[in-house]
Symmetry: C2
Subunit: 480 residues, 2 copies
């Protein structure tokens, strides 16, 4: 039977200490793959602590993939052999990144940071489990036949109709359900789009921007160029000089800079696209639901009369990162092409989740959820702002772009380099990324003052109880 | 208020008649998109029939996508504008084909055939709804935290462990969970494999075989050649003469011929693959669970010591075609490459379904389900054989490959061409396909006797109550 001492646990809670002890034994090979862990009750008795403590420690290990469970048989040590072969590229968080594999590393600090300003994972406490379960049960009772009837390749009509209605009410977008193509994540839809628009086209991504989009283009071996931004977003010159056919852009709220492209530049973009039949704009509207102040900005799609805009959005951010449902809206002539050339593909989302989500939207639960989440995020943001105000270094900090989405920029004045800031923060148990990490070119480094550094603060999933401490540790790393 | 006469309904049931009347009005544009249908109760009162009848008619229209429902608001006419823009290619059924869009056509015969020998859709009555619901509820109670923790890119460890254990017990395959990559359907995984193995490789598919695999390769603009089969499966000469790097094959039960590749040819295939670093075999084991007689054949993967086989399987066939979960097993050196180059992709299957399926397998329910289904399919097959025996034309029919999978071949002697047989059958309300439809080359037509025709009989989802009638109608189409 495993035994651990609880004599010198420092500031750790009992469960944290136990979790660390077991994790340590796994990483050192003392506990071997497929070894069985003691049952919660026996282990609790043996260590003279409560079963809740054991339960919490096991839950944490399970969530991080160190152990696995088999119902009625117990908990077992996972095989970590391949878990450390993770490419560096997965370590930068983007709206859909952050696998738990990437956390499973032997580096203790990055495995369980005290606070994570990179993760975009949604907070488990915010997911409407009871309503989701209720709707899922209803669906299974009401629609057993439809659940077993293969979905059209673009998704079930009820979900597409619900999305179209939502977009009309929420974004004032006129979209017919047939234009909507549902898929298991935007990454999957980007792959489909390459097949739809052509492998021989030249694709453009924003610099700075989502690194993952460029990775997808590279992985599919299509030409992909980085297009610089000015303070209004994508620079049209950059599109022309790189002979771009298809540009991926987040005009409503750019990631990570937070730039909102003004209407004049939007029309310039549409004008650029209308100059050639091969040109399209992929509008990624990933977090339009979470504008915290002011009224939402019309989407590019809604002012496009030339059928040049492909609109993308996802429920992974608004509902849960672990429910893989995204959608794209195709202009009518591309809808036709899609059904002619790609309708042999089955829809990648299970009927159970498509019908449940359809009812979740139709029943008004999605709107309620979004409103609740907006309040929650506003509270999170206000509280983290307060924590920053409380820090003695507040005069060396400027906050930018804090009114939209689930992150903001924190500009700090220090002699340390971005690399040193990230490293020192990690030593304090803080995961953080800098704006420079999202640049492909050296553009950023050359143009900016060397003592000014911009950090990206994702606050969506940070427990308020540790926020002050997290900000203080981060400031220590930056300024001390 | 809509009114229909029930005076001349012929042999139709009340609900069928009502369903046809409404469908007709939708197709003729009398009922317009987004028009509201009467509530079930009012409609029933008005037509003087029971609400159950209305309910059944609405359910059928809903399942086929003619109408949609909004909870608490009622039923509405769907917009069918794009529903008829379906490419011909989707009309041949393959294990993962058959969207309900492809059924939504204005051709009445193909819209609701009397019997469908092409569809591979699983029978709704066979899905273990109550256990699935119970497990889903348990998972939501037990694992709310894990449900909200992003899945590793290859799938959650519990599911991969469950699959590995199942493969050990069921197929005697030694696979570590890390080798298993879970994805939303095999089609998605083929796309990933192209990115993993290279766009510049030459891919081979079987002729005859799954047309969809070739479609995926073409759609991703990679070279794809058709490799002929002899009676033992893939011809090695064809691989050499076409400079194939990667061959897709169903050695355990070829679709649609039913060929089981003998061990000697399997070793030849492995030998071929081992001659070059760029060569791989994709082993599609799509219906190994449903071998109805004799003992299962070892997979290619299990006799591969050179890391040359990529094994593919899916739960869409064994569980439900509408739950999109498939997996592939990579050789170790490709696991490493996968994590190095493709781990930026998120897993495409939702956590809810991954955890539910993991528990479904771990709890022994999957094995029970498979056993139950195997009995069910054996019963279906025996019954359809009886129906064939009962037909006066039985002497002109030869049945082949009836011991494995959910289809068999029916060889018939007639002067009609394959095209005429398919057409005449459709006039009788029977959807059927011929072996020749699955050939890319003219090989089949040239080599065979012109009066011998081979039909493919998918019997998995045919209600026994209509089986005799379906066979008799088919035989009429073939022989009269």
């Amino acid at each position: 039977m495993l035994t651990y001492s609880f004599a010198n646990i420092g500031s750790d809670s009992l469960y944290e200490h136990l979790y660390k002890c077991i994790k340590n034994d796994i990483l050192q090979g003392i506990l071997r793959p497929d070894d069985k862990l003691p049952s919660k009750r026996t282990f609790a008795k043996n260590l003279n602590i409560s079963t809740i403590t054991i339960e919490n420690a096991y839950a944490q290990l399970l969530a991080e993939g160190y152990i696995y469970s088999i119902p009625k048989r117990g908990y077992f040590i996972a095989n970590l052999d391949h878990s450390i072969q993770i490419s560096q590229s997965t370590h930068l968080a983007e709206p859909e990144i952050e696998t738990s594999f990437s956390k499973r590393t032997t580096d203790d600090n990055s495995a369980t940071p005290f606070a994570d300003f990179i993760s975009n994972q949604t907070n488990p406490d915010n997911f409407p489990f009871s309503i989701w379960t209720k709707l899922m049960r209803e669906i299974i009772l009401d629609k057993s036949r439809e659940l077993m009837t293969n979905s059209p390749c673009g998704g079930i009509l009820e979900l597409r109709t619900a999305i179209a209605t939502h977009l009309k009410e929420f974004r004032n977008m006129d979209v017919s359900p047939e234009q909507i193509i549902v898929g298991a994540g935007t990454e999957y839809l980007y792959g489909l789009l390459i097949q739809l628009l052509g492998h021989d086209r030249i694709y453009g991504v924003e610099d700075p921007g989502y690194q993952k989009v460029a990775q997808i283009y590279r992985s599919n071996q299509v030409s992909c160029h980085y297009i610089p931004l000015d303070e209004h977003g994508i620079m049209i010159d950059g599109l022309d000089s790189n002979n771009i056919d298809i540009i991926h852009t987040c005009v409503s709220h750019h990631f990570p800079t937070g730039i909102i492209t003004p209407i004049s530049r939007r029309y310039e973009l549409l004008g650029w696209a209308s100059k050639s039949d091969t040109r399209y704009i992929i509008e990624d509207d990933y977090d339009s639901e979470f504008r915290l102040m002011g009224k939402p900005i019309p989407s590019l799609q809604s002012i496009d009369v030339m059928e040049k805009v492909i609109y993308m959005n996802t429920f992974t951010k608004s509902l849960a990162s672990t429910i893989r449902i995204s959608y794209m809206i195709l202009p009518n002539h591309l809808v036709k092409k899609f059904y002619e050339t790609l309708s042999f593909y089955s829809c990648t989302v299970s009927n159970f989740e498509q019908y449940t989500l359809a009812r979740f939207i139709q029943g008004g639960y999605f709107e309620k959820h979004i409103n609740r989440m907006r309040n929650y995020y506003r509270g999170q943001r206000d509280f983290i702002m307060e924590c920053i105000q409380n820090n003695p270094n507040v005069s060396r900090i400027t906050i930018k772009e804090e009114d939209s989405g689930l992150h903001f920029l924190m500009q700090v004045s220090t002699d340390k380099t971005d690399e040193v800031i990230v490293e020192e923060a990690l030593k304090q148990g803080i995961r953080i990324s800098c704006l420079s990490n999202y640049y492909h070119s050296n553009y950023y480094h050359n143009e900016n003052n060397d003592t000014l550094h911009t950090l990206i603060i994702n606050y969506s999933n940070l427990p308020p109880v540790i926020m002050q401490e997290a900000i203080d540790r981060l400031c220590n790393a930056i300024f001390e």
